[in-house]
C-alpha cells in the first residue's frame, strides 16, 4: 500500500464481514435515484417481456401476483460504496418470468417507469440469480425503493436492479442503459470493483 493517509485508522477490523473491495457496511437503507420517484399504482401496473423477435409476454398486477413467488435473502452492494447484508425480499424469479419466452438473445435491457434503463447479459438474469421483487422485509415495497416492483440482481451493483421495473427487452446486441452511458461500468461486478468505465 503506497499511499498511507497520515493519522487515518479507520473502523475496527476485528470480526468484520467480508465485503467487496471499497465497500462499507450500513444498517439503514439509503435511496439513490436520478430523478423524482415515479408513483405507479398497481391498478395500472404492467410488466412486459419482449423478445428479439417481437414476441411479448405481459402480466398485470393480479396475474403477476398469481405467479409462484419466493422469499430470499441477499446482500446488496451499491456503487456509491454502501453494502447492506442479509436483506429479505419476496419476488418472482426471472426463471419463471422468462420460462415461456422463445429466445436466443444474449442481452437484456430493463426499462422502468420514469424512463430509467439498465443493461445486462441475459445469463445474469437466469439460474436463480434475479427476481422481480415486490416485498421488502415482509412489507409491500415502497416507491422510494422501487415499488410496486423492482428488478433485483444482487450479484451486480445495485443500479442494475432497476426500480419501478416496467419491462425487459431481450436483445441480440448489447445496448448500454442509463448509467452505463454516463460513465458507469457496463457489467458492474462488485467483487471485481467494476464501478466505472475502464475498471
Amino acid at each position: 500500500m503506497g499511499n498511507v493517509s497520515p493519522g487515518f485508522r479507520g473502523r475496527p477490523r476485528s470480526g468484520r464481514e467480508k465485503l467487496p473491495p471499497g465497500q462499507y457496511l450500513v444498517t439503514d437503507f439509503p435511496v439513490l435515484s436520478a430523478g423524482p420517484t415515479p408513483r405507479v399504482k398497481t391498478g395500472s401496473w404492467e410488466l412486459r417481456i419482449t423478445t428479439e423477435t417481437g414476441e411479448v409476454h405481459t402480466w398485470d398486477w393480479a396475474a403477476f401476483q398469481a405467479l409462484p413467488a419466493e422469499e430470499f435473502q441477499v446482500d446488496l452492494h451499491c456503487v456509491t460504496k454502501w453494502s447492506k447484508l442479509r436483506t429479505t425480499w419476496r419476488g418472482v424469479s426471472l426463471d419463471t418470468l422468462l420460462g415461456q419466452a422463445q429466445t436466443s438473445a444474449e442481452y437484456a435491457l430493463a426499462r422502468s417507469y420514469g424512463g430509467y434503463t439498465t443493461n445486462l447479459p441475459l445469463a445474469d438474469l437466469l439460474d436463480g440469480q434475479a427476481w422481480v421483487a415486490f416485498e421488502y422485509d415482509g412489507r409491500p415495497l415502497t416507491a422510494e425503493h422501487g415499488g410496486p416492483a423492482r428488478l433485483l440482481v444482487p450479484h451486480l451493483y445495485l443500479w442494475k436492479s432497476a426500480k419501478w421495473v416496467q419491462g425487459i427487452d431481450l436483445k441480440t446486441k448489447d445496448e448500454p442503459g442509463f448509467w452505463e452511458s454516463l460513465g458507469y461500468h457496463n457489467y458492474g461486478d462488485p467483487w471485481r470493483e467494476q464501478r466505472y468505465w475502464g475498471d
Binding site: 498511507v4 487515518f8 479507520g10 471499497g22 437503507f29 439509503p30 423524482p36 454502501w82 454516463l182 466505472y196
Partner: protein, 252 residues
C-alpha cells in the same frame, strides 16, 4: 473538456492538500493540488480513498465545490456523526498531507455552462456543494443565465458559503438566493421557520411556465419532498435531476 473528462478511464491519483478552510462548525473546504487533473463538469463528484498503515482502506464520494479548472479542485466535506472518512477529512487532514482520489464521476447531475435556459437549484444542507460548483462555473464563464438557489438549512450557522452567496446575489447578474430555515432563522429576519413549501419554490419567474432545469441535492427525505412539490406544481419530471444521500450514504 468536461465531456472528455467523463469519458476517460478513472485512475487513482495522489494530490496534495494546499489549504483547508473551515466553513461552519462541522464542515470544511479542502483545496487539493492535483497536477494533471483534467477539470470537471459542474455537479460531478470524486471518490476519495483513505489508507491506514496496515493497508486497510475506505472510500467515499464527495461533490466538487469549485468551478471547473485544471490541476486543482476543492471539496467541501460535512462531518458525519459516526462517519469513518468525513471526520478524518474535517478534523485530521492538514495542508501538505497527501490525499488519494479519482474522478470526475457522474455524467447526469451536471450543468453545462453553454446551456441557456433558467436553472433552479434546490439544496438541503450540505447538498449545496455540487450546486455551488454550478454557481461558480456560471460566474467564471461570465454567463448571465437566470439562476435561483433555494437553500434549506437548519440554522444560519449551518449555511455553507454564506458570505460568498450574499456577494454573488448582490452582483445583479441574474442569481437569486432564497433561504429556508428549518430550525432557527437569523435574528430580525422576516422569514418564518419551517420546511420547504410550494410558495418558496413558486417565486415569480420560477413557476413551471418558466420551465427551468432543476437540480435538487440533499438528504433523501428532503429530495423526495422537494421533487414531489415541484412535480405537483406542474414541473416536468423529466427536467428534474436529483442527487440523494442517505444518513450513511456517504455523499458530502
Amino acid at each position: 473538456m468536461a465531456r472528455a473528462a467523463v469519458l476517460g478511464r478513472l485512475t487513482w491519483q495522489v494530490g496534495k492538500v494546499a489549504a483547508v478552510r473551515q466553513e461552519t462548525g462541522t464542515a470544511r473546504t479542502i483545496t487539493i493540488d492535483l497536477p494533471g487533473w483534467p477539470g470537471h463538469a459542474a455537479g460531478q463528484h470524486v471518490d476519495v480513498r483513505l489508507t491506514a498503515e496496515d493497508g486497510y482502506s475506505a472510500q467515499r464520494s464527495y461533490s466538487i465545490a469549485s468551478a471547473p479548472g485544471r490541476d486543482r479542485l476543492e471539496l467541501t466535506v460535512q462531518r458525519l456523526e459516526d462517519g469513518e472518512v468525513s471526520p478524518y477529512l474535517t478534523d485530521v487532514l492538514r495542508p501538505g498531507y497527501p490525499l488519494e482520489l479519482r474522478g470526475p464521476i457522474g455524467g447526469w447531475f451536471v450543468w453545462d455552462t453553454d446551456a441557456s435556459g433558467p436553472v433552479l437549484l434546490v439544496a438541503g444542507g450540505s447538498g449545496v456543494v455540487p450546486l455551488m460548483s454550478m454557481i461558480r462555473a456560471r460566474a467564471e464563464a461570465g454567463r448571465r443565465t437566470p439562476f435561483r438557489l433555494v437553500y434549506s438549512v437548519r440554522s444560519p450557522e449551518a449555511v455553507l458559503y454564506a458570505a460568498e452567496l450574499a456577494e454573488r446575489g448582490r452582483a445583479g447578474d441574474g442569481l437569486e438566493v432564497s433561504y429556508v430555515y428549518t430550525r432557527s432563522a437569523p435574528p430580525g429576519a422576516q422569514v418564518r421557520v419551517g420546511r420547504l413549501n410550494p410558495a418558496v419554490l413558486a417565486a415569480p419567474g420560477w413557476t413551471r411556465e418558466a420551465a427551468p432545469a432543476v437540480f435538487i441535492c440533499g438528504p433523501t427525505g428532503f429530495v423526495e419532498a422537494a421533487a414531489s412539490l415541484l412535480v405537483k406544481a406542474g414541473h416536468d419530471a423529466g427536467v428534474i435531476k436529483t442527487e440523494r444521500f442517505g444518513p450513511s450514504g456517504g455523499q458530502a
